[in-house]
C-alpha cells in the first residue's frame, strides 16, 4: 500500500519479471481465448491487484512465499493463531525465537524483508472480526485453512458481497473468486470457487468427511480403543469435575496433562493400551499430522490459480482438484456441481425485493401482505431480522413461548422496529423448503414527492 509508483515502475521493467512477461506479453496456444497479451497485465498484477490470504499456517506460509515471488505486492494475511514449536518443521517463515508470536505478523515481516517491494499487511485476529467492507476491497481471496467452519464463513461472506440487478442478473464485478486449498496428511485439494456462478463450499459440504464421532454409550460403558478413553475424559469427566474451572484448551499443557492422566487411569481399568500424550493432543485438538510436501503441492496449485484469475492468461482450474501422495502421486480433477438447494448460494437465496408503500405500515400488515401477496402466499410466516449482527425475532406464531414474547411487535410500525428501506428480513414458512430473505424496498419521502 505504501509503495511509491516510481519503484513499481522500475520493478516491473526489471529483468526479475522476464519469465512472467513471456507468459503475459505473448499469445500462445494454451491461452484463454479472450486473453489479450499486454504489458498492462503485469502492471495490474503488481500495482493494483489485492489478494487476501486466509491462514498463515502450513498452506499460508507457502502461499505467501509463492504470491510474493510471483510479483503480487498488495497482500493481506489473517490468522488468529500464534506460533508453536511443532509448526517449525514446515511453516518455514517462522523461527524458534518466534514461538508465541502472531503467525500473521511474523510471516508478513519475513516476506516484506525478503521480497523487495512486496507489502504484506498482517491481521492478528479472527476472520469474523472484519465486516463486508474489509472483504470487498480484495480482488481474490485464497484460503489455507484447516477448519470447515472458517471456510464456510469466508464462503458466506463472499456470497453476501454479490450484487444482482433488478432482473436478478448477477453483476460480475461483484464476484470475488475464492481459491481454497486444504490438506490432511498425504491428501490435499485445491478448488476454485466463483461465488454465485460455480459450486460453493456449502454446495459440496458432503465432500468434507465428518469428524470421527464415537457413540456416547460406547465411550461410557464399553470402551475398546485408547481414543474412547480420551473421549470419555473430554466429553464426560471434564464437564463433571471441571478441574480448572474452564473449558478445555487444547493448547494448554496443564489441561492436556490432566486429560492424559485421567484417560490413562481409565485405560488401565479396561485393559486398553496405547494412551499417549501425543494421542491425547491429537484427539483433543483433532489433529491430523501435516505433511510439508502435500502443503507445498496444494499451495503451488492455489497460487497458480490466483495468477490465472488475476491475469486471465489461462482458463482457471474447473474446479476441484484432488491430490494424494501416499502411494506414488495421484491427482484427479472434476467439476463440482452447484447444488440448487444450497443454503448459502442457491438462486432462491438471492434476496427477493418486496415493495412497501411506507414504513408506517404495522408488522401485522406486513405479515398479512406476505400471506395475501400472489408472489408469496405464505401460511404461517415466522419473521426475524439481523440488525448489526444481532438476531431479532419479530414474530413467530407457531412456538407459544416465542409468540407470547413477540406478540406486541404486531401492533408496532416497521419504523418503530428499526426496519427501513433496504432492511433484509428472514422469513421461514411452511410453503418454502428453506428460510428465505426478503429485502424491503420502502420509498423515502424524496422519491415519493418526485413521483
Amino acid at each position: 500500500m505504501s509503495n511509491s509508483s516510481s519503484s513499481q515502475g522500475h520493478d516491473s521493467s526489471s529483468h526479475r519479471w522476464n519469465h512472467l512477461k513471456k507468459v503475459l506479453e505473448r499469445p500462445g496456444p494454451f491461452c484463454h481465448p479472450e486473453f489479450e497479451c499486454s504489458p498492462e497485465t503485469l502492471n495490474f498484477l503488481m500495482s493494483s491487484c489485492k489478494i487476501l490470504v486466509v491462514g498463515a499456517g502450513g498452506l499460508g506460509c507457502e502461499l505467501l512465499k509463492n504470491l510474493a515471488m510471483m510479483g503480487f505486492k498488495h497482500i493481506h494475511v489473517i490468522d488468529m493463531d500464534t506460533i508453536d514449536l511443532s509448526n517449525l518443521n514446515r511453516q518455514f517463515l517462522f523461527r524458534q525465537k518466534d514461538i508465541g508470536s502472531s503467525k500473521a505478523e511474523v510471516a508478513a515481516k519475513f516476506i516484506n524483508a525478503r521480497v523487495p517491494g512486496c507489502n504484506v499487511v498482517p491481521h492478528f485476529c479472527k476472520i469474523q472480526d472484519f465486516d463486508s467492507d474489509f472483504y470487498r476491497q480484495f480482488h481474490i481471496v485464497v484460503c489455507g485453512l484447516d477448519s470447515i467452519i472458517a471456510r464456510r464463513w469466508i464462503n458466506g461472506m463472499l456470497v453476501s458481497l454479490l450484487s444482482y440487478d433488478d432482473n436478478e442478473e448477477l453483476d460480475p464485478s461483484s464476484i470475488i473468486p475464492m481459491i481454497d486449498g486444504g490438506t490432511e496428511g498425504f491428501k490435499g485439494s485445491a478448488r476454485v470457487i466463483l461465488p454465485g456462478m460455480s459450486a460453493c463450499v456449502d454446495c459440496t459440504l458432503d465432500l468434507y468427511p465428518p469428524q470421527v464421532v464415537y457413540p456416547l454409550c460406547t465411550i461410557a460403558s464399553t470402551p475398546r480403543l485408547p481414543e474412547h478413553c480420551i473421549e470419555y475424559v473430554k466429553v464426560i469427566q471434564w464437564p463433571k469435575e471441571n478441574p480448572f474451572d474452564a473449558s478445555i484448551d487444547g493448547d494448554d499443557p496443564t489441561h492436556l496433562n490432566w486429560i492424559f492422566e485421567k484417560a490413562s487411569e481409565r485405560a488401565t481399568q479396561y485393559g486398553i493400551l496405547g494412551v499417549t500424550y501425543r494421542l491425547v493432543q491429537g484427539v483433543v485438538k483433532n489433529i491430523i499430522p501435516a505433511v510439508a510436501s502435500t502443503n507445498a503441492v496444494v499451495a503451488a496449485a492455489c497460487a497458480t490459480e490466483v495468477f490465472k484469475m488475476a491475469t486471465s492468461c489461462c482458463k482457471p482450474l474447473n474446479n476441484f482438484m484432488i491430490f494424494n501422495d501416499i502411494d506414488g502421486i495421484y491427482t484427479y480433477l472434476y467439476e463440482a456441481e452447484k447444488n440448487e438447494n444450497c443454503l448459502a448460494c442457491k438462486p432462491s437465496s438471492i434476496p427477493k425485493y418486496l415493495k412497501l408503500t411506507s414504513n408506517e405500515m404495522k408488522l401485522q400488515e406486513l405479515i398479512q401482505l406476505l400471506m395475501d401477496s400472489p408472489t408469496f402466499r405464505m401460511k404461517n410466516p415466522g419473521l426475524a431480522v439481523n440488525i448489526e449482527g444481532k438476531n431479532r425475532t419479530l414474530y413467530m406464531s407457531t412456538v407459544p413461548s416465542i409468540e407470547v414474547k413477540t406478540r406486541e411487535n404486531l401492533k408496532k410500525k416497521l419504523s418503530e422496529l428499526d426496519i427501513h428501506d433496504g432492511t433484509k428480513i428472514m422469513i421461514a414458512d411452511a410453503t418454502t423448503p428453506n428460510t428465505i430473505e426478503i429485502v424491503l424496498s420502502i420509498p423515502t419521502f424524496m422519491e415519493m414527492s418526485n413521483e
Binding site: 464485478s173 456462478m197 456416547l216 414474547k405
Partner: protein, 182 residues
C-alpha cells in the same frame, strides 16, 4: 468463463457495490434454525421454552411423558445450536436429574442421532421425537447409567419402582433424585 481481469480494473477505486451486500447475509445456521423452529410440530407431551425469543440458538425442551415408566414426570433439556448447524448436531443436555439407562447423572444423553448418526437432513423436531422415544422405550443395551440398565434388564418391577422413587423425589441406592413430577 468470465474474464475477471478487465472487470476488476473497472471495479478498482472501490466504489461500494450497490444494493445487496450492504447487509450481511444471515449465516446458514441462523437461516436453518429459523426454519426448524418455525416448523416445530411437537406432540402434546412436548413443549419449548425460549428464555430470549431473539436467540433461536439456545432454548429448552420440556417433555412430560403420558405413558410408560416415566408417565407423570417432567424433564427439561437444554439445546445449544452451534455455528456449524446443521452440519453438526446441537448439543443437548438433560437438566432434570433422572434415573434412566441412557441418561447419566450429569445430563449426558445417549441418543444416536445426537452423535454418530446425525445427518443434516434431521431437524430439531427429529431430536425431540428421539428424546421422547427414550422415555417410552429406555434401551438397556446402550447404557450410560449402567446400574439402571442392569436393573431394567434383570428386574423390570424393581426398575419401575426405582423410576417412581426418583420421580417423586428420593434415594435410589445412594443417589438422591429431586422430585420432578408434572
Amino acid at each position: 468463463m468470465i474474464k475477471l481481469f478487465s472487470l476488476k480494473q473497472q471495479k478498482k477505486d472501490g466504489e461500494p457495490t450497490p444494493r445487496s451486500g450492504n447487509q450481511k447475509k444471515a449465516s446458514a445456521a441462523q437461516l436453518r434454525i429459523t426454519k426448524d423452529i418455525n416448523e416445530l410440530n411437537l406432540p402434546k407431551t412436548c413443549n419449548t421454552e425460549f428464555p430470549d425469543p431473539d436467540d433461536l440458538l439456545n432454548f429448552k425442551v420440556i417433555i412430560c411423558p403420558d405413558e410408560g415408566f416415566y408417565k407423570g414426570g417432567k424433564f427439561t433439556f437444554s439445546f445449544k445450536v452451534g455455528p456449524n448447524y446443521p452440519h453438526e448436531p446441537p448439543k443437548v443436555k438433560c437438566e432434570t436429574p433422572v434415573y434412566h439407562p441412557n441418561i447419566d447423572l450429569e445430563g449426558n444423553v445417549c441418543l444416536n442421532i445426537l452423535r454418530e448418526d446425525w445427518k443434516p437432513v434431521l431437524t430439531i423436531n427429529s431430536i425431540v421425537y428421539g428424546l421422547q422415544y427414550l422415555f417410552l422405550e429406555p434401551n438397556p443395551e446402550d447404557p450410560l447409567n449402567k446400574e439402571a440398565a442392569e436393573v431394567l434388564q434383570t428386574n423390570r418391577r424393581l426398575f419401575e419402582c426405582n423410576v417412581q422413587k426418583a420421580l417423586r423425589g428420593g434415594y435410589v441406592g445412594s443417589i438422591f433424585f429431586e422430585r420432578c413430577m408434572k
